[in-house]
């Protein structure tokens, strides 16, 4: 028999490696093995975080980045979902739009940044636009495929039991496509952060990416590392939230 791992251990074990790495990093940094110009010690990064929090700067940048990310995600996600929905359900809509969307999908959305800057300047619109564009395709593809691959037999069964229109959609088609849709959403959350980092690094007057670029000019290593850590934390956080939603909505699947 395998030894069973109890609940508390399951929560803590995944953190063992990161914590150990942090400890080593701190020890080597304070011993002077890692020079602060290459990589500041974790405690220095923490200190920078505290200082920036006290001045209120950090919170400003954070909320601006978060706002951009969510706005772009909502816009792109909604459009992608609706397009996937229509093309999945309606043959006519599929004929009209699917090929075009598949073609656009193959353009890396980050390649559009120069164009977008020329269109919108470097204000909010350009960043939200790029994020929305990046999020749109994964949500579209997974929604479309999810709906296309709903078991035809289940749909026939629903019809035989008198379901049609909205009832058929909400009882059978949407739940059948949901796990695929959620995969798309989780993937697009990753795309969302990545896109935002790039956009903010290239052209912005605020946000975490700007904070990092600005720190570079003044050689503030600790602030640069802090912004990287923040992105990592946010990435992890959105993944955790997505998993929680999946766990709740796909209970029947466990």
């Amino acid at each position: 028999m395998k030894p069973s791992i109890n609940g508390a251990a399951k929560v803590f074990i995944p953190w063992a490696v990161p914590v150990l790495l942090l400890l080593c990093w701190q020890i080597f940094a304070s011993m002077g093995v890692i020079p602060p110009r290459i990589l500041p010690a974790p405690l220095d990064v923490l200190k920078a975080a505290v200082e920036l929090t006290q001045t209120g700067e950090l919170l400003d940048h954070l909320s601006i980045s978060l706002g951009r990310a969510l706005t772009g995600f909502l816009i792109g996600g909604t459009i992608g979902f609706l397009l996937g929905l229509f093309n999945g359900i309606s043959k006519v809509s599929e004929l009209f739009f699917d090929t075009s969307i598949q073609m656009l999908r193959n353009i890396p959305h980050l390649a559009l940044i120069p164009l977008v800057i020329l269109w919108f300047g470097i204000d909010e619109t350009s960043k939200i636009f790029i994020v929305a564009l990046g999020v749109l395709f994964p949500v579209y593809i997974n929604t479309y495929h999810g709906i296309k691959s709903v078991d035809k037999n289940l749909i026939e069964m629903g019809q035989a039991y008198g379901l049609k229109g909205g009832a058929l959609f909400w009882t059978i088609i949407f739940p059948g496509a949901l796990s695929s849709i959620l995969v798309g959403i989780r993937f697009s959350l990753g795309v969302m952060w990545m896109t935002l980092i790039v956009a903010e690094t290239i052209s912005a007057h605020s946000g975490i990416g700007y904070m990092a670029m600005n720190a570079r000019e003044f050689m503030q290593m600790d602030v640069i590392v802090l912004s990287i850590v923040l992105y990592a934390l946010f990435g992890k956080l959105s993944d955790v939230i997505a998993r929680m939603v999946e766990g709740k909505w796909l209970q029947w699947n466990s």
Binding site: L154, M157, W252, N253
Partner: protein, 289 residues
């Protein structure tokens, strides 16, 4: 119109169905009385499921006519409920909500009662994935029965179950049928199953009904009974007629290979062969003689 035949419930007249220019059903004539239990047998792909789907109104027929209760059928048959071989429960709905599918108003009590009828009232809150194959089929049966259908269509509902569970389910279906008095069409591969529950067994071959046999045995039917065995034998013989003709063709074409096959098969004693093929029904019945 054929609809005025007094106690006929379902009347199929020269029904045709073609898929991609290939006729699947080619002139089916069948009259089923109110409350009658008809079993449909035939080789895989002969159009049994197609026939059921036509009667359910899930698909349009290409020729002839279907009347249900004196009315021509030209869309979903609201009086019929169908039960599929693969159950088709919605995995994302709990058992009780699966049973309540398509019901309106205060349906919980009815759904619970239907579950009670199939002996699963305690599993209402489970996910279908947690049930055994036989239990899933019982839920599917409850889901069909909760609508109090006039016609119950069964498309090999027990095909995937083991022999013991199958006999249990056959008894359950027969009991419920006797109590509710609906009309029923059962598609099955298992001739013994057909003879055990049906008033009449029909055989489909080449898109036509080639055998239409009343089963006049008293209920409950004893499978060990010799009259029962005779009925099964007779239907199997009719099905095998084809098999024998084909086998003759094979003999004529390649006489040198056949004796080998025969020798190999002879190792199995004749009696166990017979039992096996009767139990498995038609699909496995093309044995060398």
């Amino acid at each position: 119109m054929l609809s005025h035949i007094p106690d006929s419930h379902i009347v199929l007249d020269a029904v045709q169905k073609t898929y991609n220019n290939r006729p699947v059903l080619n002139g089916i004539n069948l009259t089923i009385k109110f409350g009658e239990f008809v079993a449909v047998v035939g080789k895989s792909g002969c159009g049994k499921s197609t026939l059921l789907r036509l009667v359910a109104g899930l698909e349009k027929y290409d020729g002839g006519s279907i009347c249900v209760g004196g009315m021509a059928l030209n869309r979903l048959n609201k009086h019929a409920r169908i039960m599929f071989q693969d159950g088709r429960l919605l995995p994302w709905k709990r058992v009780i909500d699966n049973v309540g599918l398509g019901l309106h108003g205060n349906w919980k009590m009815e759904a619970l009662q239907a579950l009670r009828n199939v002996g699963l009232e305690e599993r209402g809150q489970d996910w279908p994935a947690k049930l055994s194959g036989g239990q899933k089929q019982r839920v599917a049966l409850a889901r069909a029965l909760v609508h109090k259908p006039d016609i119950l269509l069964l498309d090999e509902p027990l095909g995937a179950l083991d022999a013991l569970t199958r006999i249990e389910m056959q008894d359950l279906i027969e009991t419920i049928w006797k109590e509710k008095k609906f009309t029923s069409i059962l598609v099955t591969h298992d001739v013994e199953e057909a003879v055990a529950i049906a008033d009449r067994v029909i055989l489909i071959e080449d898109g036509k009904i080639v055998l239409n046999k009343l089963i006049n045995l008293p209920r409950p039917r004893q499978r060990s009974n010799s009259a029962f065995a005779n009925h099964v034998e007779e239907i199997l013989d009719r099905i095998m007629l084809r098999g024998k003709e084909k086998e003759l063709l094979v003999v004529n074409r390649q006489p040198e290979t056949l004796p080998l096959v025969r020798k190999a098969k002879k190792v199995v004693p004749e009696s166990s062969y017979k039992e096996e093929s009767v139990r498995n029904g038609i699909k496995d019945h093309q044995k060398p003689q």
